[in-house]
């Protein structure tokens, strides 16, 4: 039976050691898998090699991972926001490495990782500081930068609907990086607002086919206070 549904969050993270590369989907709070981020925090895995477009805000969600000192490296396109003082502190104290790249390059690198393309050329960033030290090449008289694929051991994804095969749909702009990360991660863990019966998702409108999904959970709310749990054990 092809059944990706799971009730045990610990099972989904089993065998993942410190230093793991983890991709977290979402743009702002849209499509952000908060329950799974909390489970990652609870797992105690540290030295995370984290890939996420944004760095999060406040005390909850991704921000808690940074505050708890679990992130060794962040790869993103936009590290500013309400968290930027914490980020600045971590980076200037040398406790966290930061790799920043254009958002479209980040998206395409993750897409390439999922689709078996090890590297590609992009015009984005050519002639800028970001391209310094990178391999460049002209196509049709225009400069381009070589970028490589990004993959991860774990991908955390937030869906609207999921079925037991792992087919997913996303709501409004919650799609963003979700289908790309689903494909690029070796182990894709999904939380969905709703788990529906097979066939309830129209085959034409599956936004991420089940073949990319490994675990599906129903989203449960995470209480504000519980984001502070790590402080007790720290």
């Amino acid at each position: 039976m092809l059944d990706r549904r799971c009730n045990d969050l610990a099972e989904a993270f089993a065998g993942i050691g410190d230093g793991a590369r983890v991709m977290v989907a979402g743009f702002g709070e849209a499509g952000r898998p908060n329950m799974l981020i909390k489970a990652l925090l609870d797992s105690g895995i540290k030295d995370l090699d984290l890939i996420s477009n944004n760095a999060g805000d406040g005390e909850t969600g991704l921000a808690a991972l940074f505050r708890a000192g679990r992130v060794r490296k962040l790869t993103c396109s936009f590290p500013r926001g309400a968290m930027q003082d914490v980020m600045l502190d971590l980076v200037t104290r040398g406790e966290m490495e930061l790799e920043v790249m254009p958002q479209g390059t980040l998206a395409e690198r993750i897409r390439a990782g999922g689709c078996g393309i090890p590297a590609f050329y992009t015009p984005t960033s050519f002639g800028t500081l970001v391209a310094e030290g990178k391999e460049t090449r002209e196509f049709d008289g225009r400069g381009h930068v070589l970028e490589t694929a990004l993959k991860a051991e774990i991908g955390l994804v937030k869906a609207h609907k999921a079925d037991r095969f792992g087919n997913l749909t996303f709501e409004n702009l919650a799609r963003n990086f979700n289908p790309l990360i689903a494909a690029a991660a070796t182990r894709t863990i999904v939380e969905a607002d709703e788990i529906v019966e097979l066939g309830d998702i129209d085959p034409h409108n599956v936004h991420s086919p089940g073949v990319f999904t490994n675990y599906v959970f129903t989203t449960q709310p995470v209480s504000e206070e519980s984001w502070q749990d790590w402080r007790k054990s720290a």
Partner: protein, 224 residues
């Protein structure tokens, strides 16, 4: 003389957006342009987080945090909108499918260089977002910004000293003082506010200005 307000710049820029264009309005000042799109033109707004057909800010009661723009502000959708993932969204950008992108600017040079993401090369929190992809990909880049900074420092310059967002990409520059065409390595002023002389404008500009045969008066179209 009265420099344009931010809304005034947005309203003037909006006049140069043609019917049927697909347009990305960058985060910050460019977002204001959406309020001044000329009547009778159907313009589809793209946001790089995955939508074509963005509508205005919703009523408070209708805010849905899965409906946000690239600046993470709540939005609505227009009839005929579409959603897509980040790879397709930047495929639209990089593939040259947007007729226009409007970006804010720290510095613009006559060779079309734009700096708008960092004021120093060793920024410990460099924050690029989607601006470089937009600068590289859109069919044309319009920049809107104040002509000088708060202290009178030059932003329309001979050569950008800040890290570039894109090299040779700016097509037209809209400031609170004037509108400048950027082509062939030269600035050509096409519109100026009333009560400002050419010499005064040149004095606030770090690169030589040429003037179009006919320079239009730049009025405040945002006035009620």
């Amino acid at each position: 003389m009265t420099p344009l307000t931010r809304d005034g710049i947005a309203a003037r820029l909006a006049q140069d957006i043609e019917d049927g264009w697909h347009v990305n309005l960058g985060i910050g000042m460019p977002e204001l342009v959406a309020n001044y799109l000329p009547e009778g033109r159907e313009i589809l707004l793209h946001s790089e987080n995955g939508i074509l057909g963005m509508g205005p800010y919703p009523e408070e009661k209708d805010i849905d945090w899965t409906l946000i723009n690239a600046g993470k502000k709540p939005i609505t959708t227009v009839r005929g909108a579409s959603f897509f993932d980040h790879a397709w969204s930047f495929g639209i950008v990089r593939g040259g499918h947007l007729e226009l992108c409007v970006l804010g600017g720290y510095q613009v040079a006559p060779n079309g260089d734009l700096a708008n993401w960092a004021r120093r090369a060793d920024d410990p929190l460099p924050s690029i977002g989607g601006a470089m992809d937009l600068a590289a990909g859109a069919q044309r880049i319009y920049v809107m910004m104040t002509h000088t900074d708060k202290n009178g420092g030059l932003k329309v310059v001979d050569k950008c000293s800040y890290p570039l967002t894109g090299a040779g990409v700016v097509r037209r520059l809209f400031t609170d003082l004037c509108v400048i065409d950027v082509a062939d390595g030269q600035f050509t002023v096409t519109d100026m506010i009333a009560g400002l002389s050419r010499d005064e404008l040149q004095a606030r500009t770090g690169a030589p200005l040429r003037f179009a045969d006919k320079v239009a008066t730049l009025g405040n179209l945002a006035a009620a």
